[in-house]
């Protein structure tokens, strides 16, 4: 280990997608950054053009292609890869990690482990033993224990334009939260703290479901009343599901819950929103996914959340209907019709 204090050490970002690039640019205001791209050519191109995913790269950012180099150089690493690839990435990274590393991820998706021969479709229900948050994957796959997560209304494009925004850094360790704050904070980016990492992770994941539904409403041409209805009821559904999965109610009322939910539900820029929007316009799921450049985490999440809801016997109407639209050929109109007819009474009964 060098004698350099880590305040001089670069921070690492894994994943050169649009969010990874945006976060790298934010950290770059405080610290040199190594940005890992899986593809050597991409790393080379980024360094040559100083541009990625439509974002200009800060001078402090250097793209690299070696996880080993990244882990050896950086004490603090921000993994920003899609949830489906996360475990595989961790397995490659783990041999280079040490207990002194701090990992703060910004991934809004679940990891699932299925018994051999099963697929997500063929599983009747899913219990928490098979559904893991990213922080749990890090614990399972590596020696790193100082783990944090980033969540909140962080649309990559707005971050890139240096618009005002906020995030929450959640961790069991104050040290991790303080480190995250030191690296991320600037005059345009506020950072909040939360100790309930699992709650924050789950809130970030579940809001993607509601975002798809919001896109669908929009696609049908409905206005603000409908959206208000969806967001408020969606938030309640998130709380119920989230609690069944091990989160605390409070996480869902904060930046990572309501904050992120309102943002994504109002944002035609978001990938999840546009999936819903195009579904309502009559495209099929396969068509939509084929034409998308980056993964819409929400589609995967709907499937998992629906099966978890079944397992824990939580009533999750929006999730359930959306599942039927995405995978069982129900139309968006039919789903909406069902939801509007369903007899419900209590507004809020969880506080």
């Amino acid at each position: 280990m060098t004698l350099n204090p880590s305040s001089e050490k670069p921070a690492g970002v894994i994943g050169a997608g649009s969010f990874g690039t945006a976060i790298a640019n934010i950290i770059a205001l405080n610290r040199p950054v190594l940005l890992y791209a899986r593809d050597a050519q991409v790393a080379e191109r980024i360094n040559r053009t100083r541009e990625n995913r439509g974002q200009k790269l800060h001078d402090n950012v250097t793209a690299i292609n070696s996880l080993e180099h990244l882990a050896a150089t950086c004490d603090v690493i921000f993994p920003m890869v899609p949830s489906q690839h996360f475990r595989a990435m961790m397995r490659n990274l783990a041999p280079h990690l040490h207990p002194y590393h701090i990992l703060i991820h910004g991934i809004k998706g679940f990891d699932i482990q299925l018994p051999e021969g099963e697929t997500l479709q063929s599983m009747e229900t899913l219990s928490r033993a098979r559904v893991k948050t990213m922080s749990e994957v890090i614990r399972e796959e590596s020696v790193v224990v100082r783990i944090g997560c980033l969540a909140g209304p962080n649309l990559a494009r707005e971050l890139a334009q240096r618009q005002p925004g906020a995030t929450v850094v959640a961790s069991h360790f104050k040290e991790v939260i303080q480190t995250g704050k030191r690296l991320l904070r600037n005059d345009r980016f506020q950072v909040y703290e939360n100790a309930d990492i699992v709650g924050v992770e789950i809130a970030g994941v579940l809001k993607n479901i509601i975002a798809i539904a919001s896109g669908a409403l929009s696609g049908l041409g409905y206005g603000e009343n409908a959206k208000g209805l969806l967001i408020s009821r969606g938030a309640v559904e998130m709380v119920y599901l989230g609690r069944a999965l091990g989160g605390d109610t409070r996480a869902f009322l904060g930046v990572a819950g309501i904050g992120d939910l309102v943002t994504t539900c109002n944002s035609p820029m978001s990938r999840n929103f546009s999936v819903g929007y195009r579904l309502a316009k009559g495209e099929s799921l396969a068509q939509i996914l084929a034409s998308m450049e980056e993964v819409a985490e929400g589609v995967h999440t709907v499937q998992i959340a629906k099966k978890c809801a079944d397992h824990y016997k939580v009533r999750a109407l929006v999730t359930d209907r959306l599942y039927k639209v995405l995978f069982d050929g129900m139309t968006v109109e039919e789903a909406l019709d069902f939801l509007m007819r369903f007899p419900l009474s209590a507004d809020i009964d969880f506080i």
């Binding site: 060098t2 004698l3 880590s6 004490d75 040490h98 002194y100 796959e141 020696v143 360790f173 040290e175």
Partner: protein, 563 residues
């Protein structure tokens, strides 16, 4: 009743790893007792100053302490309490009163008082290991156990003086014995057993001795020192005193500091991390973090003080104690149900007298009913497994350096919040290990299966309503019981293969025989048997609550759906 034979009984005698008692860490500690107590007091005092940095906070804390102590003296005095107690606290109070009256904001009086208090506590806590009485105790225990075993088992005149059977035939030690012995030579061992019965401390003491390990220090409840003969034994075994009446900050910090420093000095230690005996009969799920945190703190301090790579390591060794029978079971479960059920549970009155205790001891030594002690794999203070050489391993078997857990920005740092979190992680790991090394007996399975079957037959009843059913109404057909037992056993085999639980060898074999063993042994010496077969061959109970207690041993393995 037949005696349960364990196949592959590898119980052999182990040679001591350190020959002379003078080499034992605990002896070194007691030889320098005065200096050690002084060091504990000094460090506890420094810790107090950190926790209560301002003058006002310190004075508030001292006032609270005096108030509580005087209250305790008024309400709950014990024989062991020092005679000058009232005088001491009265004088502290007096000085505090004078202090608040005076205007002098600079006097060092509060610090002085705090120092005096922790000094007193450190002296109270410190153990007093005496090699001679250790030897005497060891000889007495060994002599009488052997007499009891032989006199009772071999029914011939003169058998009383034979040495054919020893305690080793009664108590099976399984698991990572070799590793434990190796680790105790390389570093400091902190043993953390489950706690079900008052017998545990004696049993563990015997196990430690019979594995050839030097005496461990352990915190014994001060109440035990009320009885003079106990006090003699305890002192001789390296026990330090834990007074559960004292919950004030200076006391708790001194107690933790005592354990912390003793571990740092290489004294092998023993905690029951569950705190008290498991009331429900379940394996502990929540551990007490206070003492556990001292192991982590001790390890961090060793790293902090020593830059070189060969720092003395601290190893955590989980141990489970497995019984067919827990003497206190009916009382324990009653307490548990009372607390849990509030007014929904109506306890039946019936207490054990000392006659029952003697009867139990006699039965214990004359009849079957073995006890087994499972030694778990060694862990570092972060809960990573270690290999035979004490090296920490990650999940994939790579050697890692635990020092790095305490490193921030390239240097070992002190971060209380981080270590609290590590303590929580360690406690989860220990609980996990308990479940893994838990050795399932046929009697546990029998109790579990029967109770769950009755619960299933009355799906509408909650636990308390079920327990209130008259025992005469509860009957199970043997065939049905047998099938379920078989299913559960098969699943346990599977769990064992997945290394999620362990079971006694007697669980294998012909099913009827195994069930008979199980039924014969569930809570074997209770006045009312929790489970037995009646004359018509049906499975019945005489005491459902106690059956529930034994059933709880297998809660947490998700076996319920198999019923």
């Amino acid at each position: 009743m037949e005696i349960l034979e364990e196949k592959k009984n590898k119980n052999r005698k182990y040679t001591p790893i350190l020959n002379r008692i003078r080499e034992w860490p605990v002896y070194q500690l007691s030889k320098n007792r005065k200096e050690f107590v002084e060091e504990v007091a000094q460090k506890s005092f420094e810790r107090m100053m950190e926790l209560r940095p301002t003058r006002k906070q310190l004075i508030d804390e001292l006032e609270a302490t005096v108030y509580r102590e005087q209250n305790r003296i008024k309400r709950n005095r014990w024989r062991v309490d020092p005679k000058d107690e009232s005088r001491f606290w009265a004088s502290v109070k007096q000085e505090l009163v004078e202090l608040s009256a005076s205007q002098d904001e600079t006097s060092k009086k509060p610090e002085e008082l705090a120092k005096r208090i922790v000094q007193r506590y450190a002296g109270e806590i410190a153990g007093n290991f005496k090699p001679n009485s250790y030897r005497v105790t060891r000889a007495i225990v060994k002599f009488w156990f052997t007499r009891l075993l032989n006199g009772a088992r071999v029914k011939k005149f003169g058998a009383f003086f034979r040495n054919r059977y020893t305690l080793r035939d009664k108590i099976h030690i399984v698991g990572k014995v070799k590793m434990l012995r190796k680790l105790a030579q390389q570093g400091t061992v902190v043993m953390v057993p489950t706690h079900f019965s008052n017998l545990d401390s004696i049993l563990i003491g015997w196990v430690i001795h019979s594995l050839g390990l030097p005496a461990f220090i352990y915190g014994a409840g001060l109440n035990l020192f009320n009885i003079k003969i106990f006090a003699y034994f305890m002192n001789s075994l390296g026990a330090y005193k834990v007074d559960r009446r004292k919950k004030n900050l200076p006391y708790l910090e001194t107690l933790k500091m005592y354990s912390n420093l003793a571990i740092q000095k290489g004294a092998h230690s023993l905690f029951f991390p569950g705190g008290t005996r498991s009331r429900s009969g379940m394996i502990e799920k929540q551990l007490k973090l206070g003492l556990l945190s001292t192991a982590i703190e001790a390890q961090r301090n060793l790293y902090l003080e020593n830059e070189s790579p060969d720092v003395r390591k601290i190893f955590i060794v989980p141990v489970t104690l497995n019984y067919h029978f827990v003497l206190e079971a009916p009382d324990l479960i009653e307490e548990y149900l009372q607390v849990k059920g509030q007014d929904r549970y109506f306890p039946e009155q019936e207490k054990y007298g000392s006659f029952q205790l003697i009867k139990f001891l006699f039965k214990f030594f004359t009849k079957g009913s073995s006890i087994s002690v499972s030694i778990g794999a060694g862990l570092d203070v972060l809960g990573n497994y270690v290999d035979q050489n004490g090296q920490s391993l990650d999940a994939s078997g790579r050697v890692i350096d635990p020092r790095e857990y305490f490193i921030s920005s390239g240097a070992v740092t002190v971060d209380k919040q981080r270590e609290d979190e590590y303590t929580r992680m360690l406690s989860q790991k220990i609980v996990h290990e308990y479940h893994r090394i838990n050795r399932v007996f046929a009697s546990h399975v029998a109790a579990f299966v029967a109770f769950e079957m009755w619960q299933k037959k009355h799906p509408k009843l909650d636990l308390f309503s079920l327990l209130r059913l008259p025992e005469e109404e509860l009957e199970l057909e043997y065939e049905e019981f047998r099938d379920t037992f078989k299913r559960v056993r098969k699943h346990l085999y599977k769990l064992k293969e997945e290394r999620k639980v362990n079971h006694a060898t007697h669980l294998k074999g012909e099913i009827d025989l195994v069930i008979k063993r199980g039924l014969d042994n569930v809570g074997i010496f209770h006045l009312k048997r929790p489970l037995l077969r009646n004359k018509k061959g049906k499975i019945v109970t005489q005491d459902l609550s106690t059956l529930y207690y034994y059933h709880n041993r297998l809660v947490g393995y998700d076996l319920e759906p198999l019923i």
